[in-house]
């Protein structure tokens, strides 16, 4: 009888161990996630495929985009706020775009950059030629605090498996975010992307 009880206890312990190991094992999404290099506002982040530096950010209730010919388009409104991230990017060795620009908010949501054309994430980047310009995001204003910029080379996640990525802390503390929101202009005009 004692031996049988011992066997049952051992079985339960082994079952619990199996469940524990399964739960602790990273899922396929985590195992194949892009390999991110972290940085902060103003710092250069070097990945295997590109270098990125976030220079500044601003907010707006609407954006107007100035094209390469100096013509400024009509205001584009939003249901939330526009977050304009000004950054400098250079491709390392092959031409690419940084289409996978996302704003990851504190609640875990990921905001893919606006599909609006003429922004830095839609620009062809040649190796060794840095480009400076805006990346546009639309988010609800209450999700600004703690937002982090995540940049990869593709907008489709399945194409970035174990690929290069840059995660940039934008320094959006609660007080800083509140200040930005209080000073937010109704419209912000963003210039074209420039090669440096």
């Amino acid at each position: 009888m004692r031996r049988a009880v011992l066997s049952v206890v051992m079985g339960v312990v082994l079952l619990a161990a199996i469940i524990g190991v399964r739960r602790a094992t990273p899922g396929v999404d985590e195992r194949y996630a892009p390999i991110a290099v972290s940085g902060a506002l103003g710092e250069q982040v070097d990945t295997a495929a590109f270098q990125l530096r976030v220079d500044r950010l601003e907010l707006g209730g609407a954006v107007r985009i100035t094209d390469d010919y100096g013509l400024t388009g009509e205001p584009k409104s939003t249901a939330g706020i526009w977050v304009v991230v000004w950054a400098t990017v250079a491709a390392a060795s092959t031409s690419l775009q940084v289409q996978g620009a996302r704003l990851r908010t504190a609640d875990g949501s990921e905001y893919l950059a606006s599909s609006t054309i003429g922004t830095l994430d839609k620009t062809d980047l040649s190796p060794g030629i840095p480009a400076y310009g805006p990346i546009l995001f639309e988010i609800p204003p209450d999700r600004l605090t703690g937002a982090v910029l995540s940049v990869t080379t593709h907008s489709v996640k399945g194409l970035d498996l174990l690929g290069p990525a840059a995660d940039v802390d934008l320094g959006l503390t609660a007080s800083y975010a509140t200040g930005l929101l209080q000073r937010m202009p109704p419209t912000v005009t963003v210039g074209p992307v420039r090669n440096l």
Partner: protein, 190 residues
């Protein structure tokens, strides 16, 4: 055969049934009947919440890309859409989950082949298609009415859910088709 062999056998059978049933969705009760809804009523899925607010039939393209609107037979469905997920969605993602049947005749509008446009209505323009998490947008999806069908007076739209799960074509999590959430019975305006 001792009593422990019987206990072991029963435990094995129970464990095997659970091990097979769990990944297949567990021992859930049968799905409830799909509710019928009207204009303006909201249905919330795992990715999007929708509330259709207008359906119109037109003989000119309501959303021409360039130049004058071309003549034809168009059905425009306008909806209030909120992204309730944690990832950016597009109007095309919604259009892929709407199954349309027009009356009279009860014929199907092909949600892929017959769709001519899908966009966010903002600032009087049709140049945007993203719906960001936590934000609501007014959306229009335009379809052509196939030639043999009579002019539609009623539209039935079945809204199917999305589920973000690891799939079959890829091991990575993606948005896959879920169960039907609601059937909208809508009048077509002119």
């Amino acid at each position: 055969m001792g009593p422990w062999a019987v206990v072991t056998g029963v435990a094995f059978v129970v464990a095997t049934v659970l091990a097979l049933a769990w990944p297949a969705g567990g021992l859930k009760e049968a799905a409830a009947e799909i509710p019928h809804r009207r204009l303006g009523e909201t249905t919330t899925g795992h990715r999007l919440a929708i509330a259709p607010y207008r359906v119109t039939y037109a003989t000119k393209d309501p959303a021409p890309v360039f130049g004058d609107a071309k003549a034809g037979r168009f059905l425009a469905v306008e909806l209030e859409v909120r992204n309730v997920s944690d990832q950016t969605a597009k109007v095309g993602d919604l259009a892929f989950r709407l199954y349309l049947t027009v009356s009279p005749g009860g014929s199907t509008i092909d949600r892929i082949r017959d769709k001519t446009a899908g966009f966010v209505i903002r600032d009087g323009r049709y140049d945007r298609d993203q719906i960001q998490p936590g934000l609501s947008e007014r959306v229009m999806i335009v379809y052509t009415v196939p030639a043999p069908l009579p002019d539609p007076t009623d539209l039935t739209v079945t809204f199917r859910d999305d589920q973000y799960v690891a799939g079959f074509s890829s091991e990575l999590s993606e948005w896959y088709e879920g169960p039907d959430l609601a059937i909208y019975d809508l009048k077509v305006d002119r």
